[in-house]
Amino acid sequence: MRTALCELLDIEQPIFQGGMAWVADASLASAVSNGGGLGIIAAMNANAEWLRNEIRRARALTQKPFGVNIMLMSPFADDVASVVADERVAVVTTGAGMPTKYMRAWLDAGVKVVPVVPSVAIARLVARSGACAVIAEGCESGGHVGELTTMTLVPQVCDAVDIPVIAAGGIADGRGVAAAFMLGAVGVQLGTRFLVARECTIHRNYKDKILEARDIDTATAGKRLGHPVRALRNAFMREFVRREYDASISNEELEAYGAGALRLAAREGDVKNGSVMAGQSSGLVKKEQPAAEIIREMMAEAEALLKGGGPLCG
């Protein structure tokens, strides 16, 4: 299925893979790009050297365009933002803040900027600053989340901006893709389903937790810190929530308790004491598959649903 997004970014299918920290490396990003979508390397809290290496590794693995996600709260945000411009990465997505200070440099380098937006006002602001598309991400998603759901955020953002809108949050199969298109999106971004892509290098235990998850298994925590996170409920989450509600524990202590928890789960496989970040769509994710197969299957399903929509109207 081709949409305006495919033309804009020179990709075959309008699917982004989310820039998930400790997950989205050159292996996963290149597999998604080779499968026709847009693979994305997460710069997370890594430094410039790590990102430059991953970009070069991805270039060795794919000839197709791929992107980099900049987490704007990273202590290395300035450095990794420069690497994106220097390396002339095809697309940069941003999260956890306003990318306005880097826009000029990226646009001058020919990098297409696609910020993740949690509200209409932020979507309008980045659109006028030169973003070529936006990712409207609802709180069904894993990791850092806003307040609005995908169902409510996507159409409101579509109404507010005249650039392509990519829907994210809660989408894990063709039904989600078709629904997102009905809301006005011309692309989708998926994180959770790609966690179990064969080329995803996270620990086996993390993948198994996603595959076993049920609809009710995720929760959010950390609202007190101003940036709530969605993850699977486990011993770590329960203890984090207990501390969050304990007024004798400072915000700094709470931050410190959460630090390193995602890496512990994703890289070392400690899915009890680590943070297994994942979206509400975990319950829809049933098998490990190559990224290209995920894309092919999902888009074929979406296309069939969109073509078959007529009978509903009698």
Binding site: T100, K101, S119, A121, I122, L125, R128, E147
Partner: protein, 77 residues
């Protein structure tokens, strides 16, 4: 007067009395999160028909008033 209009916009946004807002009232006192902050600035842009640079240093109401006045007089924010 720009201050009155800024104070009124702030008051409406927060659902508080404009009489309690002074030039030296800090932004921290309004307890705005990052989403509120952008929404508020967009509201001010609509009120005054201007564009405000999001990278502007805004710590108190006076900073905001100065930015708006500069924009209204044709200068860069």
């Amino acid at each position: 007067m720009v201050f009155d209009k800024v104070a009124q916009t702030l008051a409406e946004f927060k659902g508080i009395d404009a009489a309690g807002i002074a030039p030296e009232t800090t932004f921290a006192q309004f307890e705005l999160d990052s989403l509120d902050r952008v929404q508020l600035i967009m509201n001010l842009e609509e009120t005054f028909g201007i564009q405000i640079d999001m990278e502007s240093r805004i710590e108190c109401v006076r900073d905001l008033v100065e930015i708006v006045e500069k924009q209204l007089s044709g200068g860069a924010a």
